[in-house]
């Protein structure tokens, strides 16, 4: 949940519903998993760069990313994650 100063804009993208579903699911992830997904998949930071940014070992970052993707697939039922995560 977040606070905004203005109403949420309506999407016109035909894939908007799917993308929004992915974003909503990502927003429900735990803090660290969410951060890794966004930094790596949305901001195109490498795992090494994400590790540096988060001050965490690269192995941990990869585990967080894999755990997040696994959670999105298994618990949120989002199967086409790669396509959704590659679009900003």
């Amino acid at each position: 949940k977040r606070l905004e100063g203005r109403p949420v804009q309506t999407h016109t993208d035909p894939d908007a519903a799917d993308k929004q579903a992915v974003r909503d699911a990502i927003s429900r992830l735990p803090d660290r998993q969410k951060t890794v997904l966004v930094l790596h998949y949305y901001l195109d930071l490498s795992f090494a760069e994400v590790a540096d940014w988060m001050n965490a070992p690269e192995g941990t970052v990869k585990s967080l990313a894999h755990r997040a993707v696994k959670k999105l697939r298994e618990e949120e039922g989002l199967l086409d994650l790669e396509e959704a995560l590659n679009v900003t």
Partner: protein, 506 residues
Amino acid sequence: MSPDLKSLMNRSAPEPSGPVDIAAVGRRSRGLRRRGQLISLTTTLALGLAVFLFFSFAQPNDKPSGEENDRSQVVNPGPQEDESETSLDDRAATFAIKSVAEAGLHDPTDIYFDYLDLDKTSAPVDATDKWVATFSGPECTNSNTKCIVIDGIPPALKLESNGIDFTVTGTEGALSKWSERLTGITAPSDPGPPQFVWEIYQADDETDAKRTHLVGVSYWTGPIPGRYFSECEGRNVDAAPGDEKSVLPLRGISPQSEDERDGLLRISTETPLNQGAIEVTCDPAINTKPEPYEMSPVPEELQLVEVGSEIIVPDGLELAPDLPSKALRDDIPIDIPTGPRYVAARGTFDEGDWGEVEGKDWWFISWGHEKAWCNSFQIGNLDAEISGWGCSEEPPGLSHSDEVIGDSTLNPGGGTVLSFTYGTLSPEVATVEFELTTGDLVRVDAIEAPGQLKGGIKYFAAYLPPAENGYIVARGPTGEELQRERICLRACIVGNEESVNGTIGH
């Protein structure tokens, strides 16, 4: 940047007092998140199961008559034997332990019936003494496949003595599964001197190479309370002449109650032993296994070593709470502190851009769980996999309702616990206020994001005093109210979590 990206980021930060470096704040906040107990306080949940009993290493003492024990002094560290005689009850208890061991049920690496107590069941009417020896272990639940206490009924052995021999005459509870193996076991009831038995089954090495740890099942055959001393040392079988032996600080064993008669004993040598076969000798002798123990080197791929643990929950690995664990994170050894620990999640790196870890397993170990306060903004931020008690669920014993005012959420800290809340904001938000039902008003500034996120997102963070509910209000640069939302403070669980790559071994 897409405005939707704002909803994807969440960074934690302490209450700002001036310009803040978000990256540094983030690092500190991660520290805060890991040290959840510093933010909000409370009583640590008792999540672990009491699987094993340990002997306490009380300091031995000579006890002049009429004086109290001084357990802080080592009065006589030399080998001694207890001068008290072993009673028939003591021998019956020992017989019960030995019978379970003989049946293969006294092995912490497999299944372990931990001796608890002995009851004499009847007056001898036919020159036969009878007892029931009870045992303890993991309680049976839906997810516990290695349990031995079914429906609260402790497993038990029925024993008899005709003055010459002891005999197992029956079983109760979970021990009935091995009734054929147990019933009929017999042994002479001659006393023998009180004896301490330590059957080592595992040896391992600390990664810092300071000492070697020996773990084994142990029991005391003498009277309770008891006292036994021995000087022990370990050495590598293949050690060259002159190679150092290492002293085991086994100076005093003093079981004080019947349930301390047996258990697990873990002793660390004073100096490390090498990899390979080791032998332990004691004077007076402790009935350790005659053959040497093989100390296994830590395999390269082994990342987490649990000494003497027992897998209790198949689909949620629970680590023995009283035994330390170590893990290798990016080849750097770290210690996972003792206490209730759980594997929060595990998986295998499948196809993808995982590099050298592709195909390897990963684990997340969680520990240090405590009650804390969460709020509705943190739904999903707390890892529900840790305990299943995130903000969206109630821990056992706590109640929660969705009413805005008059919510019955409990304050686990007794009125002194602060709630730490944080979140993201649109860039036009200048300040955030929390109007709490207690009348408290907390106001914090919105924090600009750094780097390429600047201009697209802001953050807020605040410590809130205990309250039931309230409102969060976003205000613009001139103080105008932009948005008002209800918040609900709920009790939840926070804890530490660390990831390790590799496999768990024993």
